[in-house]
Symmetry: C2
């Protein structure tokens, strides 16, 4: 499969028109496209243009209600519960994290739990919102069940990512990872390449470890059983119960505190996904001098990067460094978008009556183009 | 190596006298022994009687200062920083979590970061303190460096456990795990059994994966390099960067917010370990009706337990179930203490001028007994 690179400006312009055509205000459109394009700039391709089809189909099917506005249903000076009323995940989440930030600036901490939302893009975007304000930011979400609990054979938790961002120099700490060993996107990549899955990733419908990507993916789509292992695999010896536990932590802050839909039931309704999120912002000033804390943390990160490397390795990364490098590269050299995704964008244009060619001049759609349906 | 079982009352009586002899008040002694014996009751043997030698040697060497009192050096209604002044970790941590609980009851949340403490026992004990009050409790600690960051060959983070406890029926959710794939205690177990280490656990001094338990342990003791892999192993394909990230999260709440000693420097001083902790208590009442939240969570836990099992498995655990079962068994049938530990307890009695035989009547010390020094 080929890909083509587009400038940030091209994609930004395109996304702006898309979300306007969906009926979002200019401000709303700006938020949604910033979440998507940040993923692409960071090199998290699965959550940028490639994910547009999910929002398109969600709005078309009626599980995403573009006109819904988030509602604060419970609030204290340090906390809030928000009902997203099945609106666009990015807008609900931006609203929720702004509230957490506001509380953290006033009281030192803000914890916001959200129910009835939709896929919100990368969790790290919202952790970053707090980080940009000098705060420790955390974000998590549940999702359609894909993680099989230790000793199980049915997916009961989502990929349940947890993101953490904290100010530091020369760049912040930025950690954004699923609590499964990998995401479904990785399985799909191996499937497209026709390669067997690495050990320790996936389970077949009987709960046995499997390297068979097409079989595992087909079972996931048909909800026949199996799925992805927690971080730590499917045995206690490799720490399966730990990844499963971090997935539960995510569930606590998203679906439990908000009284929302747990992952085992997410995406089983005709008119909503029920996806839930959790957000936290913590003000370092509630613990002393924020500048001193920032310097202390930066020194530790530097010590980690400078520590001795394993034979054959020339670099130890601190979390967020790869994103900094990817952003620099993609701003200079463009954002790669693969042909499958381009076909999906063409379909989206046709749905919204936008002129695909006017955004992506000179691009020729593959002759045998079919929409890749596995992901929605 | 053999072991012998003692009743809870026998060990409780023994520990009471030990901590009294060290100069702790009765109340202080009660806290310390409750932390230790809870570990033994929960089946976390590495942190019960087996760990007594570490406190003994710490006090003897002067890295634990029994008379030190924790001091609140910074405080807001939702947060505090505590300097432990190198006192007993359990006392400092009990004090810190009580403060977090008090804040959570008043404001909805309490976050307490602690510097200059010592080994505090099981993290889960403190998470449980909050849980017993109907709150969501979290606790973490850094420690002497043992986790090698992804692509490194020198340990730069501790085993950095994160514990979470949350009220539920018929028993609470209780998660307490290191962010390394396993703890050093597991390596020592394999070493004693003369068995090769499982793949994905440990690194030799050059940063290569190693199954050689004696070599890895000798390098750790001599600080020659190598150590234990993060949860997720030493490759990105298995999620190494994720375990490393959770270790960093732990560091943030313990050593960073408190301006304390990061794991890479812990236990490198003659007069202190510098170990840091983080505690959080969150009041579900800050998010709605605590009873409804508890019921909602209990139902999800039940759904997890009842979900289909993998071929060959007859049970899916939710976190904390194994501890409930172990506690029942040990209260009925006694707490196993191995012969090595018994020798260490005899040494402790001799140091404190206590009569070993009066506590452990009829027990015969192994004839070739030598103190196992690897762990301190």
């Amino acid at each position: 499969m080929g890909y083509v690179k587009w400038s940030y400006d091209t994609l930004n312009h395109f996304c702006g028109d898309v979300f306007k055509a969906f009926g979002f205000s200019e401000e709303e459109g700006s938020i949604i496209k910033d979440v998507l394009l940040t993923a692409d700039l960071y090199g998290i391709e699965s959550h940028g243009m490639q994910r547009m089809v999910r929002y398109h189909k969600g709005i078309e099917k009626g599980t995403i209600h573009p006109q819904a506005k988030p509602e604060v249903v419970f609030e204290t000076p340090i906390s809030a519960v928000i009902d997203g009323h099945n609106g666009m995940g990015q807008l609900i989440s931006h609203f929720a994290m702004e509230k957490a930030i506001e509380k953290a600036k006033t009281t030192g901490v803000g914890i916001v739990s959200v129910r009835n939302s939709n896929h919100f893009g990368i969790a790290g975007y919202y952790a970053n919102m707090a980080c940009h304000e000098g705060l420790l930011g955390m974000a998590c979400t549940n999702s359609e069940a894909i993680m099989v609990p230790t000793f199980g054979r049915k997916a009961m938790l989502g990929s349940n990512p947890i993101a953490v961002a904290m100010p530091a120099d020369p760049y912040p700490f930025f950690f954004d990872c699923s609590t499964t060993v990998v995401t479904r996107g990785k399985l799909e990549m191996y499937n497209k390449m026709g390669k067997p899955l690495p050990d320790g990733w996936a389970l077949d419908k009987n709960g046995h470890a499997s390297n068979n990507a097409p079989d595992v993916l087909a079972n996931i789509v048909a909800k026949k059983g199996g799925g992805i292992m927690p971080l730590g695999g499917n045995e206690e010896v490799s720490g399966s119960h730990k990844g499963y536990g971090y997935g539960m932590l995510c569930e606590l802050f998203s679906s439990i505190l908000s009284m929302g839909v747990t992952s085992d039931k997410c995406c089983t309704f005709p008119d909503k996904t029920g996806i839930c999120h959790g957000f936290m912002a913590i003000n370092p000033a509630a613990f002393g001098d924020p500048d001193a804390i920032r310097k202390h943390f930066s020194e530790y990160l530097e010590a980690l990067r400078e520590s001795p490397k394993a034979d054959g390795q020339d670099r130890i990364y601190t979390h967020g460094e790869k994103e900094v490098a990817a952003e620099k590269d993609r701003k200079e050299n463009g954002i790669p978008v693969n042909d499958n995704t381009m076909v999906e964008l063409a379909d989206l244009c046709s749905y919204l009556k936008l002129d695909f060619g006017s955004y992506f001049e000179g691009y020729e759609l593959p002759k045998d183009s079919k929409f890749f349906n596995g992901n929605y």
